[in-house]
């Protein structure tokens, strides 16, 4: 009955196929108007890059701004070079460069734009603009690069660059795409989310020549970009500049902090580089040469270099001893050089004298009393308990772990615990004689210059600190900075114990750092010498001033410059003068530091 019906259905199916293929043939092959429409009617998705936030110094002077630059883009499909010689002349590139760029663009996409010449200056752009009309497939894309009015604070400010594959993978918000710029170090990296703003997208209709035919659907799908937030840094531009002048040609760090707030006034890592070099077309070239430079100009010493704290640590030992009740200002020890070497000074000394003269044997004996309290009859056990209790106290001074400054890649230094010695010597096989070098800040301890400057702030504040930070406010609002920078950290030592310590530090200058003394400003400081097994010792000095009402706390490291009383103390003293007085009158001292001849 139904034999012809399956056949009818088969015919129907073939007919459908035929109708569809015929219609497709008509629009795809016969009719080229769609091809023209596609060319005329392409929608370009134009990412609207927001204006990256600016960075100001603490007094509102501009540190970082944006400078517009122009990329010449090439669409291989539309590109016609015409007279090659003329083209090369007009656009000032070599034939090889043109061929290379074209091949790269061709490989990337035949129909999408790729850069032909990157980062053309404003003047070059003005010149090229007139010729562009003759060359289909070429157009100018505008971007902006970071610029710096003064070539200073490169490490603190950081730099931006193209996001790398690993960062892209970690970006769970899917905000970034390949080729986006992102902060790679310093403030630029830490405050990336605030500085970058939010990208917008514009969809526009363009014809084959890339000529704008207006927004797509009246901009219904467009999103406006949101400009990045401006940041006011804690850096004092003048102080930073002066410090870099002093440190030019040397290796080391200067970190200056406002003790009452933890705001970093200056942060110098020498050798340094001009931050303008790490922007624009020269980025990769400069980066490579800086990266391979043996003096490591990219290495951010204030937060990444670690040294033994040396004699400066004696101040911390004194404070812990006083707070624990093990020491009193009257505690006296003989300068017994059979315990540990020392220099010649009157003996015996009390605590004041020990700080003033930086007496090693005093701290060897004092530290033994801090460690071995006879809580256990077993000397080994007693030492272990004592060391760990002591370590807890030291950690409160912001040592032995990252402080949490608003910069990436901060190192935490090290304060060894009993586990360290257990691993090294075996459990129950070490005692005070193993660890005594900790008493004078040598041995297994490591601190960063930033931690040292923070110690100076603690001494100045008589027992508390705010975590050092580089940013004062975001968009003019101080409450937008991370909360941890607004929290007071107590170190667990009563303020009264600091009075004598401050006096001793002020007095110490007369013993060990006479160059640093100023007539009208009382500086309280302590020299140190970080032992360097590879060469001349590093010169270290921490100080705060004025002693009566501290405005600045500072740590200076000058590598391979020997004794702390010369290079570091002089530099610190000049920085203090510059910050408090606004100018430096002691020209001889300045010349002495600039000459940089500290070893004699």
């Amino acid at each position: 009955m139904n034999d012809q019906r399956p056949v009818a259905i088969i015919i129907f199916i073939f007919l459908i196929g035929l109708v569809l293929l015929t219609k497709l043939f008509m629009i795809q092959v016969m009719d080229d108007s769609f091809m023209k429409k596609a060319e005329r009617n392409a929608i370009q998705r134009v990412v609207d890059h927001p204006y990256r936030g600016l960075v100001y110094d603490r007094n509102g002077k501009l540190l970082v701004y944006n400078n517009p630059i122009f990329d010449l883009m090439l669409v291989p499909k539309e590109f016609e070079v015409g007279d090659t010689t003329r083209f090369l002349e007009l656009f000032k590139i070599s034939k090889e460069e043109l061929i290379e760029a074209y091949e790269a663009a061709r490989k990337y996409s035949y129909v999408k734009p790729s850069p032909l010449i990157k980062q053309i200056s404003t003047t070059e752009f003005a010149r090229m603009q007139d010729y562009l009309i003759d060359y289909p497939g070429l157009f100018i894309m505008t971007r902006s690069v970071r610029s710096y009015p003064l070539p200073i604070a490169a490490h603190a400010l950081g730099y931006i660059g193209e996001i790398n594959a690993r960062q892209l993978e970690r970006d769970t918000t899917n905000y970034y795409v390949q080729g986006d710029y992102t902060g790679l170090s310093g403030i630029e990296r830490f405050y990336e989310d605030d500085l970058r703003g939010r990208k917008g997208v514009k969809y526009k209709m363009v014809n084959v020549r890339g000529v704008d035919k207006g927004p797509f659907k009246d901009g219904e799908y467009d999103t406006a970009s949101v400009a990045g937030k401006n940041i006011t840094s804690t850096i004092d531009m003048e102080l930073q500049r002066y410090g870099e002048m002093l440190m030019a040609g040397k290796k080391g760090s200067v970190v200056a902090i406002e003790p009452k707030t933890g705001e970093i006034l200056a942060m110098i890592s020498a050798p340094f580089y001009d931050p303008n070099d790490l922007t624009g077309s020269e980025f990769s070239k400069t980066y490579r040469s800086l990266n391979s430079d043996e003096s490591k100009p990219l290495f951010n010493r204030p937060i990444m270099a670690t040294y033994p704290p040396g004699s400066i640590f004696k101040v911390v030992q004194s404070l812990i001893g006083l707070q624990e009740g093990v020491l009193t200002p009257e505690t006296t020890f003989a300068c017994n050089k059979s315990l540990v070497a020392c220099h010649n000074h009157p003996s015996p000394v009390n605590l004041f004298g020990a700080i003033r003269n930086s007496c090693n044997p005093y701290y060897h004996q004092a530290f033994r009393q801090i460690i071995n309290r006879e809580v256990s009859s077993n000397t080994y056990k007693d030492t272990e308990i004592g060391l760990n209790a002591w370590r807890e106290n030291v950690l409160k001074f912001g040592l032995g772990g990252r402080l949490g400054v608003d910069m990436p890649n901060e190192k935490g230094g090290d304060v060894p615990s009993s586990k360290y010695y257990d691993r090294f010597y075996g459990e129950g096989r070490w005692k005070y004689s193993t660890i005594y070098s900790l008493s004078i800040g040598q041995g297994e301890m490591l601190v960063t210059p930033l931690q040292m400057a923070n110690l100076a702030a603690i001494f100045a504040n008589k027992g508390y600190y705010y975590t050092p930070h580089l940013v004062k406010s975001i968009d003019g609002d101080a409450n937008q900075i991370p909360e941890k920078y607004r929290i007071k950290n107590e170190v667990g030592v009563e303020a009264r114990h600091f009075d004598m310590i401050q006096d001793a530090m002020a007095e110490a200058l007369y013993g060990t750092a006479t160059r640093a003394i100023m007539k009208d400003i009382t500086i309280a400081g302590k020299t140190g010498t970080a032992q360097n097994p590879h060469g001349e010792d590093h010169s270290v000095f921490v100080a705060f001033a004025p002693k009566e009402d501290p405005k600045i706390a500072i740590a200076v490291y000058v590598e391979n410059a020997g004794w702390g009383g010369r290079a570091a103390a002089s530099t610190a003293s000049l920085m203090i003068e510059k910050y408090i007085k606004g100018e430096v009158l002691r020209k001889e001292l300045q010349d002495y530091v600039l000459a940089g001849n500290f070893i004699y």
Partner: protein, 424 residues
């Protein structure tokens, strides 16, 4: 009696090969639809649709194994229960489902969601096959016609309530199966005549021309044929009825929801609003049309990016193919579909039981309808209806339901030697 239910040699491998070819071509096109040269991602990247589709394909293979491993009689025995289950799910969907764009299509827990409307297709097909398999069931009789339509219309009404017009329309494709099973031809003449008049009425601006043509045809029929009063009266009444129908269409269309109205109007005049409702069709035609004979090359399309054509990777996936592979690519895919359908007819006709043959024709009807309407809408031959291209479009529900639908039939076909002839 039987040794094993899985007889690999009896599986229709041609159908299986066509199925996998379409699935893989579809997968590559889904990647092309989301491909962005600015942010290159691997086709396997699970954060983009091609990666997800790979998961759907993997699970579809698992489904195939389960379908093929089950006893062939299971589907027949379960048919009524499956049908009732999906009716219940369809009733529940509006209450427990998730609303998207005013439609409640899917139910499920968390990110695992299914659309009962998609899966109810094969359940309805099985139920119809079971219901109609009796030798006494005769579609030329009015009472049987009504019963068969009843089984068909129940899910349709429930789906229309969601409302999902596109999926509901698919069920009417089973009229093709009814045709094979003997539904009288005059239904189809009426249906096609009605559709033709409707299309003409919508397509021709001035209804006067169309009315004039109808009157001319009626007069011609009266003049040419036998001149009895009954005939003249009958033709005149039909003519008047058609003309009234023509004028009522505009009225009915104006009562439709606006988006459906627009879809219909755009079919006849895409330039009416090229950036508005006509956007899909205009862009889709530009994309396909700009493909030329051999296409722009894989991933080199410029028109089908950025998700401007909504449903780029689902209902409009054919655009990507047309743009990047040109007419030759379209030819290959359309030929694959025609070959598949042809093969399925051969398979359906060799069945020994009416149950399996009816089910086979249900599969043919549903796939044919999807294939025909989906491609027709991308090239502006049919209004935009949200139905996917079988095996091709992105999405788990769609791929799974077509896979189940097809492989149940492949399973039945491979077991046909074990079935007693019941064709009578």
């Amino acid at each position: 009696m039987r040794e094993s239910d899985i007889n690999i040699n009896r599986v229709d491998w041609i159908t299986v090969m066509i199925y996998f070819t379409l699935v893989i071509i579809g997968w590559f096109n889904i990647y092309a639809a989301v491909y962005d040269g600015q942010a290159e991602k691997s086709i396997f990247d699970f954060s983009i649709n091609s990666g997800k589709q790979l998961v759907w394909i993997g699970t579809a293979i698992a489904i195939i194994i389960v379908v093929m491993a089950a006893d062939y009689r299971l589907y027949e025995n379960l048919s009524i229960y499956l049908y009732l289950t999906f009716l219940v799910l369809l009733v529940l969907t509006p209450f427990v489902g998730k609303e998207v764009n005013g439609q409640v299509l899917s139910i499920g827990v968390g990110s695992f969601r299914i659309q009962p409307g998609e899966f109810a297709k094969f359940a309805t097909a099985l139920a119809l096959a079971k219901f109609m398999e009796r030798p006494t069931f005769d579609l030329s009789k009015r009472s049987y016609q009504l019963k068969a339509f009843g089984v068909l219309m129940l899910p349709v009404i429930l789906i229309l309530l969601q409302p999902d017009t596109g999926t509901a329309m698919v069920y009417f494709s089973l009229l093709i199966m009814f045709y094979r099973e003997g539904l009288p031809q005059y239904y189809y003449v009426l249906a096609f005549g009605g559709i033709a008049v409707t299309l003409l009425a919508l397509g021709i601006e001035n209804n006067l021309y169309l009315s004039g043509a109808i009157i001319a045809i009626v007069i011609l029929l009266i003049v040419l044929g036998k001149k009895s009063w009954q005939r003249i009266l009958a033709f005149s009444l039909i003519g008047v009825g058609v003309i009234i129908y023509i004028y009522s269409i505009d009225f009915v269309v104006s009562k439709l929801p606006e988006h459906q109205q627009n879809r219909i109007m755009v079919l006849f005049n895409p330039d009416l609003d090229p950036l508005g409702v006509g956007w899909n069709v205009t862009q889709s035609k530009i994309a396909i049309g700009s493909g030329g004979l051999a296409g722009k090359g894989y991933l080199q399309g410029t028109q089908t990016k950025f998700d401007f054509v909504p449903e780029q990777h689902t209902d409009f996936i054919f655009c990507t193919l047309g743009e990047e592979f040109g007419w030759l690519g379209s030819f290959v895919v359309i030929s694959l579909f025609v070959a598949l359908l042809y093969r399925l007819i051969i398979m359906a006709e060799r069945q020994k039981t009416r149950f399996t043959r009816i089910y086979g024709y249900c599969v043919i009807s549903i796939i044919l309808f999807h294939f025909m309407i989906n491609i027709a809408m991308t090239i502006g031959l049919f209004p935009v209806v949200g139905i996917p291209l079988p095996f091709f479009s992105y999405g788990g529900s769609s791929l799974w339901s077509f896979t189940i639908l097809l492989f149940i039939f492949i399973k039945m076909d491979s077991s046909r030697a074990m079935q007693l002839g019941r064709l009578g």
